[in-house]
Symmetry: D3
Subunit: 229 residues, 6 copies
Amino acid sequence: MERLIEGFDHFRRHMTAEQRDLFARLASGQTPHTMFITCADSRVMPEMIFGAQPGELFVYRNVGNIVPPYAQHVSGVVAAIEYAVTALKMKHIVICGHSDCGAMKALQNPAALKGKPSVEQWLKHADVARYVVAENRPTIQGEEGLRYLTEENVVGQLEHLRTLPAVAAAMANGSLRIHGWIYDIAKTEITAFDPAEGRFRPLLSGDGNVPDATPHARFSTPAPVASAA
Amino acid sequence: MERLIEGFDHFRRHMTAEQRDLFARLASGQTPHTMFITCADSRVMPEMIFGAQPGELFVYRNVGNIVPPYAQHVSGVVAAIEYAVTALKMKHIVICGHSDCGAMKALQNPAALKGKPSVEQWLKHADVARYVVAENRPTIQGEEGLRYLTEENVVGQLEHLRTLPAVAAAMANGSLRIHGWIYDIAKTEITAFDPAEGRFRPLLSGDGNVPDATPHARFSTPAPVASAA
Amino acid sequence: MERLIEGFDHFRRHMTAEQRDLFARLASGQTPHTMFITCADSRVMPEMIFGAQPGELFVYRNVGNIVPPYAQHVSGVVAAIEYAVTALKMKHIVICGHSDCGAMKALQNPAALKGKPSVEQWLKHADVARYVVAENRPTIQGEEGLRYLTEENVVGQLEHLRTLPAVAAAMANGSLRIHGWIYDIAKTEITAFDPAEGRFRPLLSGDGNVPDATPHARFSTPAPVASAA
Amino acid sequence: MERLIEGFDHFRRHMTAEQRDLFARLASGQTPHTMFITCADSRVMPEMIFGAQPGELFVYRNVGNIVPPYAQHVSGVVAAIEYAVTALKMKHIVICGHSDCGAMKALQNPAALKGKPSVEQWLKHADVARYVVAENRPTIQGEEGLRYLTEENVVGQLEHLRTLPAVAAAMANGSLRIHGWIYDIAKTEITAFDPAEGRFRPLLSGDGNVPDATPHARFSTPAPVASAA
Amino acid sequence: MERLIEGFDHFRRHMTAEQRDLFARLASGQTPHTMFITCADSRVMPEMIFGAQPGELFVYRNVGNIVPPYAQHVSGVVAAIEYAVTALKMKHIVICGHSDCGAMKALQNPAALKGKPSVEQWLKHADVARYVVAENRPTIQGEEGLRYLTEENVVGQLEHLRTLPAVAAAMANGSLRIHGWIYDIAKTEITAFDPAEGRFRPLLSGDGNVPDATPHARFSTPAPVASAA
Amino acid sequence: MERLIEGFDHFRRHMTAEQRDLFARLASGQTPHTMFITCADSRVMPEMIFGAQPGELFVYRNVGNIVPPYAQHVSGVVAAIEYAVTALKMKHIVICGHSDCGAMKALQNPAALKGKPSVEQWLKHADVARYVVAENRPTIQGEEGLRYLTEENVVGQLEHLRTLPAVAAAMANGSLRIHGWIYDIAKTEITAFDPAEGRFRPLLSGDGNVPDATPHARFSTPAPVASAA
Ligand SMILES: [Zn+2]
Ligand SMILES: [Zn+2]
Ligand SMILES: [Zn+2]
Ligand SMILES: [Zn+2]
Ligand SMILES: [Zn+2]
Ligand SMILES: [Zn+2]
């Protein structure tokens, strides 16, 4: 706690004029371009690794970077995405898992959930990863099994994301794009899900061909009369 | 999206040896000391303003820095706090609101929620702020009303936090402390709730007397035999 | 009621020896190949229009051929699909909407739901159709609007279906296929959703090329040793 | 799947002029007289065994012909019944169980539910059958036990049905009647619950005395003008 | 508050030896014969009007003497009845409404619920009364309408009570009996629901013929070997 | 049952003129000063031990004197408290546990809950007591353990009570006070929770210093102009 307070004191004393200006400008509104959904894990620092400035990323974090589907009982994630898409007009939503994730390890080893009934209930939203791996890679354990779970969890959460009406409506005309990524802490690498190939590929491929998990648009955007809205 | 990808590319190219070492060390575990619960707002960047290193803060972010109470239906926040307290043995939990918060503005002006049913349902967890201000400061509007709502929301979420069994159990012997803060974006200032005075006071008071919202411990910690647990 | 009783009496008296044999054989088990999810509407009679025999179709019917997604609160549909996939080893799941559907008309004209709070709450699971059409075809009303809603509802329910862990696990290796159809009562025609083209095409195209809504398999089926399971 | 498509092709080619007329007439509306709630089991084909025409039966099917009671969380069945009674002005509701039902077998042998958590949760709505039989026929197993469970499940679902406000309101003046039946697949026989005798009796008794599970009406139908009801 | 404390002080000083003995005997267990479910209203004092001694009545009180049906979400009433029937082996359950009930008045005049969203949501469990009266006595207002609502609420809660598995199991063999009463505060009179007549009759009829709302038992009690349990 | 009916008959015959007058006056309204929340246990008779008159106590009783927190799913207790505070303008709310409570014994010995799934689910709202005692007094069993559980349950329910918006709003200006008591059946004694000392103290201390569990008011009551509302 002292570290935080000292850190904040230090930050205030050493703010640049530029930072002061930025915060003053931001004081009355935000216009982020991307919603970033990731794990609460202390080793995942999205703003740092992307060099994002204040005002750029609308950041949702929970245990396991989970997006419950759209159901009668509203979760905080669903509410946040609705807000991001309808009020903030987000252009992109990224769901980003990571290596060595405690939530994924708990999926692999349910005994770790003893005495943690709320976590166990929450991870029901990651059942899909558990089922897909158990059915299709039943003999794979350890590191490789954990990687499969982490990947299938991102794939499954993308499916959940597609059930949100506001997301479906915006994706149907291409105005919103969704992405499923995994951040490897040790290697400082990111892979992205490519539905065409059905696998994760490096985000930085060098060829500018960035994988994207958005389904095909079924509607062209509202007729482009003479304006460029 | 391109900005993020370029940012990540830049980050990777310019990592220091120190950073590489840190990430390598962190690759197989985290030992954060503080759980930080704040808003998804793009202008709130906890790691930046506290100068926190990777591995220090377990960060939960949602719309309105809300903690639903412990009920039959488990929320992601409740699961995350259970994990933070029982698995990660967190010493501190901070609930941090902020100025110009879209969620608080929506409490003040419910018309803004039209077409956002999930946000409206989610903000039921902030009803307490709305009720307290409507009952006790019915004539106050605008900026001042927003400040009251923001403060009362933090106070109310602290109350919700106290209903979590794992939190109550750890607070009862003093091993966990809870804090309610508000970050002012324009002024780069933080105030903290002081239950003894029933109001928010500056975090950086200069006298080292930091407000703390933890109720009195009712149990001494397990008898301190001869060990230094 | 008398008609039903007389009908049953008539059916019993005129059963063929073949039918008797069939029922005797079926008395201790079912092995349907397809789960058919359709509306409770009295004009939709799947067994009749497909000439299905007893024992062929596992038939789920509700208002609006809706499949709630996989969430903490289990619906009857989710339970039935889990049973169909894990216990009955279904090879296909069809979600079949229909023309002139009362549920779709209610989406189009919410005033019709006055005094029907349970139907209104149930149709929350069809919000996705409402949102997609409102966002992308805001000016289209009447017959054409109803057709869009009916199509988008089937597309949305297919998305919900994909969130079921047992479904995702079986689709991931190609052992289960899913289909989205619409039955036109007046024309006795069926169209099927083709995700590649993003539109509904006639089921009976004559070229044997039947549209299929299953996502690409990501896992090859368990190694095909020497057997033909 | 091919069988279905061929079956539909065959049906279209061989439609009679009468059928074409009927479908044309039905294209813009339905006026069914009876809501029929039965199991999704592939061997139960209500339209076939009652010789019902398109437009006659509003058919709800789920696993175990279950009707959850009227509670805060609305199920698809409750919504469908509300629609049937208030919009379609149904005169009769039949809940129809059947012999060799997989859901009833699962009640008898809970071990069969391993790996089927959604089915297990769904069958909570059939707890009443399990409790009644366990308490009153604890030593009866096998076929006879299954028959008791099947009967008590129908009795219990009739009780649930009575909790729906729209059903209670219509039954209270006799304008809606409810029925609990069991269909024996092997014998092609139906028995109906007779609350006066507290047991199931053959539907086709020959004496025209058909059992009916509706409670006594407490209100005469809307007051006949000049009287002082 | 002072009145309560003084009242308690007075009670302690004036306890009789008999009362002291009774409380000493009761200190380690209760064996009530009847569960009494009534309204929280301050004018309803069941122990007083029945002259019940400590240890006789297991008393559940809430707003509107409501019994939610048995559903996935467990209410406190359902839990209490389960406890009463399975642990305390209750012989009778009484649901007792009363005249001038605030909850019933709110059913009659929904405007009274403005600003009371939780009460409004809770009274959904009394929808049945509202529907039955609206459908069958639409023109009756005022006192008489309130009486109808109060009666139909008791009838509806009896229906809910019948959905509890433990209740159904015990009623099925006659070991538990259920009763629906209404207490008139001004007249100090009680009427009881008689399902055979479909109306409420005076509890104290003088002829010893007490109305009882229990459905016919379908199972004889476990064979009465040689003991008299 | 006969005892109740005879008791009521006796009560009616022996009513005093004063009682008749009181009931007549109360026939059209109640103005209780205190909401009393206690266990359904047959040995707890609040009106008797406080010598309360009809019209004084608004009495809520359930298993374990539990107050679920304010969440999306409304419980009967939450609705009742909302009614008590906003409609009846209650000045005090007392949560009163008691010795030898079956619910607390079940917390101590979960095996007692076998076959009582609804009670088990209900007691989730008392998890906090279980956790606090397990964490802080892990080695204490029997009578003393039961006393700790009973006390911590009252403390935990007070925390739940604080989450109700209407309660928080009224406590914030001191117009509502809350109290946590425990009634010892054998000793006819009451202890009250004193948050300042973090322990339960005798209610009748003789010095007029009655413990009170209300948090400090943060708002002065609406400015006391010249009137005495
Ligand atoms: Zn993680
Ligand atoms: Zn905010
Ligand atoms: Zn339909
Ligand atoms: Zn079946
Ligand atoms: Zn009342
Ligand atoms: Zn108790």
